[in-house]
């Protein structure tokens, strides 16, 4: 039972928006950055490894490599042969996965705390000695193709979002190409290409190892030194030039989707610089605009005009979110809408709401709700060791400042209504807009 006194203390600290997640950060001589965040309240630990390589690091003719590589990372290494990874984690009561993003690729294991060493053994063995063989490569090329058929080619909207939309929203090829890649490039991938990709990008000096949960720091430091300490550092790959020319004119494209049954319009504007004052302002603007049933777009388009079925906004969309947003990036909206309307009408209504935001800052009540929503999101997400490890690692990789996990909430809460209004005027401008209208095409049988 909680004593009364601590309750009062607690309220005081919460009012100051002070959720302090303890952590320490250090770097091994080989360049591997390590973050340890102990939390001994539940016997669970998350090991999260993030590499600074993603789809935007790919070269022409090599699309899909970042994702293919994520698959290869589960195909065995010098001392953990094929099949070992899944089995070692699961037979010790854990779960695991990996995923590919535009700017990074990540891997994690969540385990009962006393099984931590198993994850360190596996992550270090594949960082040191991944088994890049012809057989593994062919097998995973097939698996990736099958994933494409399943998750993209056979799903409504997916092809439009992953292939068509980036090409519309970006001019720079690095950002504009398909995140999952083409079958032609995957077929052309040879063992040598893959080996080179591994050496440059999967090096300790291009990675962050983040561990959160029920750990004893001194012991974990020793284990990390023993497992990762002598993995050789590599020459860093040149960062891709992501420079995006300024958008001068609005663009509109229509895509007919044979699998879709309900029309959807995606709208995007180039977003602000990460961690700039505008980054915080746009995020709060988005809360006022699209988060929850009291948000402006929901009330106006779903409830009053009944033109949209659902509205979503995302700084960092369509493949990420505000925490892993990296400029040049987008502030995106998805609106599924009533099929009796035209996309142009829906976008017009959407723009009326933008105009309202540009002429009139959010009210005090709206700001109060947006701040409470922001605080609540943060508190909720931090209950899992996975989110803690993940955000600490992402902030190290993208900002070099994991401490932002503890300090950024204050910056979000400090955004003023005026800043939101100014951000709307600066970023949500018609000439910078692009829109992709995805409309249901006649089913395939009608064409035959």
């Amino acid at each position: 039972m909680k004593p009364f006194l601590s309750l009062i203390l607690f309220f005081t600290s919460l009012a100051a928006a002070d959720l302090n997640i303890p952590f320490e950060k250090y770097t091994l001589p080989n360049g591997l950055r390590v973050i340890l965040s102990p939390d001994n309240t539940a016997p669970v630990v998350t090991v999260y490894v993030i590499y600074g390589v993603g789809a935007r690091s790919e070269e022409k003719g090599r699309t899909g490599f970042a994702h293919l590589f994520e698959h290869m990372m589960f195909q065995g290494s010098a001392h953990a042969p094929k099949g070992t990874h899944f089995q070692a984690i699961e037979s010790n009561g854990g779960t695991l996965n990996g995923s590919t993003h535009p700017d990074y690729t990540d891997y994690f294991e969540i385990l009962p705390a006393n099984k931590l060493a198993v994850a360190l053994w596996l992550e270090s063995d594949r960082m040191r000695s991944l088994a890049i063989t012809k057989e593994n490569l062919d097998n995973q090329t097939e698996a990736v193709k099958q994933e494409r058929r399943l998750s993209f080619d056979n799903q409504p909207y997916a092809t439009a979002v992953s292939d068509v939309f980036p090409a519309l929203a970006y001019k720079n090829w690095s950002s504009a190409h398909s995140i999952i890649g083409s079958f032609e490039d995957l077929n052309a991938a040879g063992v040598n290409d893959v080996s080179r990709f591994f050496r440059t990008h999967y090096a300790p000096n291009n990675a962050v190892l983040s561990i959160a949960g029920d750990i004893r720091k001194e012991e974990v430091r020793k284990l990390i030194e023993a497992y990762f300490g002598d993995i050789p550092r590599q020459e860093r790959a040149k960062s891709p030039d992501l420079t995006e020319p300024e958008r001068k004119n609005a663009e509109w494209q229509t895509y007919k989707d044979p699998l879709a049954r309900v029309p959807l319009v995606m709208i995007a504007y180039p977003g602000p610089k990460r961690r700039s004052p505008d980054y915080y302002a746009i995020t709060m603007l988005d809360v006022v605009f699209t988060t929850g049933d009291s948000s402006r777009l929901y009330q106006s388009m779903v409830k009053e005009k009944k033109s949209a079925l659902a509205v979503e906004g995302q700084l960092g969309g369509p493949f990420g979110g505000v925490t892993d947003y990296k400029d040049p990036g987008l502030y995106t909206f998805n609106l599924t809408y009533n099929p009796s309307l035209q996309a142009r009408q829906v976008v017009e209504q959407f723009e009326q709401e933008i105009a309202r935001m540009q002429t009139q800052p959010p009210s005090a009540k709206e700001m109060e709700r947006a701040r409470a929503t922001m605080r609540s999101f943060r508190v909720r997400s931090l209950q899992s060791t996975m989110t803690r490890a993940q955000l600490l690692a992402q902030y190290e990789l993208l900002d070099g400042k994991p401490e932002l996990l503890n300090s950024e909430l204050e910056q979000f809460l400090a955004v003023t209504p005026r800043q939101i209004q100014e951000a709307a005027k600066k970023y949500l401008v018609k000439s910078k807009q692009c829109a992709l209208e995805i409309i249901p095409a006649a089913p395939a049988e009608a064409k035959q």
Binding site: K2, R369, A372, P443
Partner: protein
């Protein structure tokens, strides 16, 4: 919660160890699972209250479950319960829809409702400093929802669009059909409403459902999180829910379950880029002695990335991106089902491989190593699931609503550990056999019908 002594022990064990990087490190066995303290009480009107303290973060997780859910829908009106759930927040005797949304956002709360196979759930979270306001809001929706006509009209119109969206996914079609075949006339057969059934719902139907089933005696309230002292918390709960009038608890409509039998249905989806294969049957209730052997057997077959289906169908053969098996406990029975998605060219070998894995479970005993690995996996995942507030709240609420004692959670790990190879082989032979499982395949019939017919008599239906 780990004791201080255990931490010291772990530390010294590690110090003595020298790291051999060539093999998997030895680690201590999984610690036994200890359920957090559950404080259970009942209000005079029959509302069951479960409280679990978790002070790690300033958050409270809320769940209020009403027994019945979708199974209480009239046979002609599937979708009634989900419509009730989706309209609870859209206007009450005290607050308009918009007022409710604003009041909820002002305390950083989230509150939603949905209706599943056996229960209608209202669930959410709130910063713990606002617990009393949140309880007031949640009591308002379940007691005073008014279902304004314009909200009903909007919901119905949008739901028909959402249905079209859902039915555009081939896995949804397969799942829907499989439930119909397996459950026949039992309410579990209905997974999705139809545009017609949604169209037929009127305000009086929603009010009748509310008045009959959203009653305190039919409900379980679970709060997990950073809770204030019990007397204070209970006084808030009574303020919100205490004067909610008691009503007789209506019986749950049952319906008999059809005898599991072999059948093959092909749903024709022209232009499909790949094929969804789902198969399954109903099995036994959660307290049946075959239940835990079935959980373990299904996991060995297709749970997680070291299961036989995943390793053989995806990793070795590359037929599919995923292949999995599940065994899910419902109130009246459980559902065993297997699902995978393959491309047209490999349909035949993939179906053979699937059958072979199902047969092998009943023909050969599992090795001690495979069994022990899978038990660790099941128990580890179970414990990880209970590390979050929502994990604890949803498990407890679902068990209580289905009349399963809280101790089930604490016994889970032990029950899994005690399953033996011969029990697995026997239950697999009985429940995984091909003559008792229904198969549903969704794909382009013009390309695959001949192949499917090699496996038996096929009923072909059009995808709608």
């Amino acid at each position: 919660m780990k004791s201080f002594l255990a931490i010291l022990f772990l530390a010294s064990a590690l110090k003595a160890q020298t790291v051999d990087r060539t093999k998997m490190p030895d680690t201590a066995p999984l610690a036994p699972f200890k359920l957090p303290v559950i404080r259970e009480s009942k209000l005079p009107n029959g509302l069951t209250v479960l409280l679990v303290r978790d002070n790690r973060i300033p958050l409270v997780t809320f769940r209020l479950l009403f027994a019945g859910g979708g199974r209480l829908d009239p046979a002609s009106q599937p979708g009634l319960a989900e419509t009730v759930a989706s309209l609870l927040k859209e206007g009450t005797a005290k607050r308009s829809s918009r007022q409710f949304a604003e009041d909820l956002a002002a305390i950083g709360g989230s509150l939603d409702a949905d209706s599943g196979t056996d229960a209608l759930s209202v669930f959410g979270t709130v910063l713990s400093e606002y617990t009393s306001q949140f309880l007031d809001l949640s009591a308002d929706v379940v007691r005073n929802a008014l279902f304004p006509q314009d909200e009903i009209d909007l919901r119905k119109e949008n739901r028909v669009q959402e249905l079209a969206l859902q039915r555009s996914q081939s896995a949804t079609l397969a799942d829907e059909k499989l439930h119909r075949v397996i459950f026949g006339n039992h309410p579990y057969a209905r997974t999705l409403p139809t545009p017609q059934s949604i169209g037929s719902i009127e305000r009086k139907d929603l009010i009748a459902y509310r008045d009959r089933y959203l009653t305190p005696g039919n409900a379980v309230l679970v709060l997990v999180g950073d809770l204030v002292s019990e007397p204070v918390l209970l006084s808030w709960i009574r303020a919100g829910f205490g004067s909610w009038p008691q009503k007789p608890v209506p019986p749950l409509p049952g319906g008999s379950l059809p005898k599991p039998a072999r059948s093959i249905t092909l749903i024709d989806r022209p232009g499909s880029a790949q094929i969804d294969i789902h198969l399954g049957r109903h099995t036994v209730k959660r307290l049946d002695p075959d239940y835990f052997p079935l959980v373990v057997a299904s996991t060995i077959l297709g749970g997680g990335a070291s299961s036989r289906l995943f390793v053989n169908i995806r990793e070795k053969q590359g037929y599919a991106y995923d292949a999995s098996a599940h065994h899910m406990g419902y109130r009246d029975t459980s559902l065993f089902n297997v699902s995978t998605q393959v491309r047209d060219e490999v349909l035949e070998p993939a179906l053979h491989a699937l059958s072979a894995e199902l047969d092998r479970m009943g023909k050969e005993p599992v090795s001690a190593q495979e069994l022990s690995n899978m038990k660790n996996y099941l128990n580890g995942v179970f414990v990880l699931g209970l590390a979050s507030q929502d994990g604890v709240a949803s498990q407890l609420a679902a068990l209580k609503t289905n009349g399963i004692p809280n101790s089930y959670l604490e016994q889970y790990v032990t029950k899994i550990r005690s399953v033996e190879p011969d029990q697995i082989q026997r239950t697999a032979a009985k429940y995984f056999s091909r003559d008792s499982n229904a198969v549903v395949i969704v794909g382009d019939a013009s390309k695959i019908q001949k192949t499917v017919e090699k496996f038996g008599k096929v009923t072909v239906e059009k995808a709608n």
